[in-house]
């Protein structure tokens, strides 16, 4: 692996030449150094070559290993007659309660308004509240607690509020 000192050394040599670009390739990496368009300094772009060398079986894969699944990525089927949908604003983990062991924000049958918090999506260690966005009665919760969701994936379906 090249260090920043190695790259400084290469650039000291390059700076004395009229060259604007240098590509270095080994079996382990490809490094491209370019003069930046702004004319101040250089940019580096790397590609690490080769495949990971996996050892042993390690911890056996879990069937329900968290991760985007085919069904998760599939487009949401058409809703029930006149149903409204609450979609995930972000990719992440779906939680129905504010913390483990606490009561869920909503259950099937709960009446919600547009600003009701219905779930949490954890993305990059940050908890993001999901608001219903529309008023209605929860008729379906589509994801299990702790499940992984894609952005815009349908989380819940609502029936329009009774008029």
């Amino acid at each position: 692996m090249l260090t920043h000192e190695d790259i400084e050394e290469i650039l000291r040599l390059l700076d004395a030449t009229p060259l604007d670009e240098l590509e270095l390739q080994t079996e382990h990496f490809k490094l491209t150094l370019r003069r930046s368009p702004a004319g101040r300094g250089w940019t580096q772009e790397r590609q690490t070559r080769g495949e990971p060398n996996m050892l042993g079986a390690g911890t056996p894969p879990v069937a329900s290993a968290a991760g985007p699944t085919a069904s998760a990525a599939a487009p949401a089927p058409a809703g029930l007659n006149g149903a409204l949908e609450i979609r995930s604003p972000l990719v992440g983990s779906f939680y129905r309660a504010p913390k483990p062991g606490a009561a869920p924000f909503v259950e099937v049958g709960t009446l919600v308004s547009a600003d009701t918090v219905v779930a949490i999506i954890e993305t990059m260690k940050l908890m993001n509240s999901v608001h219903a966005g529309v008023a209605g009665r929860v008729v379906e919760i589509c994801i299990d607690d702790g499940g992984v969701v894609e952005q815009h994936q349908v989380l819940m379906r609502l029936a329009p509020p009774e008029t």
Binding site: W42, E45, P52, A57, M124
Partner: protein
């Protein structure tokens, strides 16, 4: 014992950082990887990889059993925990010992002593380090007499917290009951320890820390870092040395950190964090970070010391290889944390696949990263993509070098916070130096003219 085969129980840029030094030292490396990281850059750089579990950290990077089993599969003789995850968990240090692995870090006893924030406070006080007025509270009744001394605002801190997590500010008596209850339930959920304590809140303080190396017998320091540019208690820009400290204050800070390190008979690399009230020339103990830190790179740039190499040497049983007299600070270094965050949408996290990743290069520039074109940034872990580090003869030179470096930074596919860094670097208040921990929030709220944004 010489380390021949190192197992790395971490991911991201710190995994790459540890791999680099281990490979330079001729140490064989194995990386533990979750399902989300099987194809990531660190997995390609390591000599070997062992799968440790599914993407969710609770079942992989936080699973002590899985980590120890993987190190066993690799037949490694030492384990480096990096930062975050299990790095300060005494149970991992003990499990390593039981499995015959060298743990690259402090003893389990030290991790226990400093992981409990109340015990850490007691050690600091016993070492003669100033601590903020405060105490543990078990009930609301206990709060009242304490609050007569502390006043408002007051900070509620989780005894098991740290790294900016488990903190709540309470501004008035009316908020106290609700905030205290929330703090207790949060502390229990996040750290498995419901205990909290109250501490006087200091407005306008600076976050300054001292890097230590210890070998259980002796302790040396590698100067100060300033990490006051924070948002929601998370560091955004760090620098070394801390700017604008009087020579007397700087000396008292480093002496206090060394005194605490000696009292703990500290082993390995660690940091003592302080809240500094520069106007009153006073400082208070915050916490000990018993691990390598994200911002260690700025100290490496100004001291010329490879902190990972020193960690490995100390773990292998070597006494400190540098005396205090041999250590000196040269110039000034800054670090900008490039995160997958959308500046235009309240710094919302932005996981996804990286298109291209162009980073700066050149004199005094270092980039520590785990991403390149095509990398996947999973939603399961923190948003740190890269650290841009700039070193120059003085602070003004480092600021200019960093501003030019950021302009060369061009990452597509995920949103990054480069424009926020450019804005801070162009801000006169930051350029003057010595900003306090409230600075960034004020800048974001002020709508002060954004800098000409960097590319992308």
């Amino acid at each position: 014992m010489k380390i021949r085969h190192l197992f790395i129980a971490n991911r991201g840029e710190i995994a790459v950082r540890i791999l680099r030094t281990a490979q330079q030292l001729g140490i064989e490396t194995t990386l533990g990887v979750s399902d989300a990281d099987l194809d990531a850059v660190p997995a390609r750089l390591a000599d070997h990889c062992v799968r440790i579990g599914p993407a969710a950290a609770a079942h992989s990077y936080l699973d002590i059993g899985a980590v120890i089993r993987a190190a066993g599969t690799a037949a490694a003789d030492a384990l480096h925990p990096g930062y975050g995850f299990l790095s300060e968990n005494p149970a991992l240090a003990s499990a390593c010992e039981a499995a015959g692995l060298v743990f690259v870090g402090p003893t389990a006893a030290t991790l226990e002593a400093v992981g409990d924030k109340l015990r850490a406070r007691e050690h600091a006080a016993a070492a003669g380090v100033p601590v903020l007025p405060g105490a543990a509270v078990a009930s609301l009744g206990e709060c009242e007499p304490l609050l007569r001394t502390l006043g408002f605002p007051v900070l509620v801190k989780a005894v098991g917290g740290g790294g900016g997590r488990g903190l709540r500010r309470v501004d008035s008596p009316a908020q106290l009951v609700a905030q205290l209850e929330l703090a207790i339930s949060e502390a229990n959920a996040a750290f498995g320890d419901p205990r909290v304590y109250l501490e006087r809140y200091v407005a306008g303080g600076r976050h300054i820390e001292v890097q230590l190396l210890g070998d259980e017998t002796d302790v040396v320091h590698l100067g100060t870092r300033d990490c006051s540019v924070q948002r929601r208690y998370q560091k955004v820009i760090e620098e070394a040395p801390a700017p604008g400290l009087s020579a007397g204050l700087e000396q008292r800070l480093t002496e206090a950190a060394v005194a605490l390190g000696r009292r703990l008979r500290y082993r390995g690399a660690g940091t003592v964090e302080f809240l500094v009230d520069a106007e009153r020339d006073a400082f208070y103990f915050l916490e000990v970070n018993a691990r390598i830190q994200v911002e260690h790179a700025v100290t490496e740039m100004v001291s010329g010391v490879d902190l990972i190499a020193e960690q490995l040497a100390i773990a292998s049983g070597s006494p400190l290889r540098l005396t205090q007299a041999q250590l000196s600070i040269r110039g000034h270094a800054l670090e900008c944390r490039i995160n997958a965050e959308d500046v235009d949408h309240g710094l919302r996290p932005s996981p996804g696949r990286v298109g291209r990743a162009l980073f700066p290069a050149g004199a005094g520039i270092r980039v520590d990263t785990h991403i390149e074109g095509g990398s996947m940034v999973p939603a399961f872990y923190d948003s740190l993509l890269a650290k841009i580090i700039a070193h120059a003869a003085d602070r003004s030179g480092a600021l200019d070098r960093m501003a030019a470096a950021l302009a060369c930074c061009d990452i597509s596919g995920v949103a990054v916070n480069t424009a926020l860094h450019a804005r801070i670097l162009a801000d006169p208040e930051f350029r003057r130096g010595a900003v306090d921990t409230g600075y960034l929030q004020r800048l974001l709220a002020s709508g002060r003219a954004p800098a000409r944004t960097a590319t992308g």
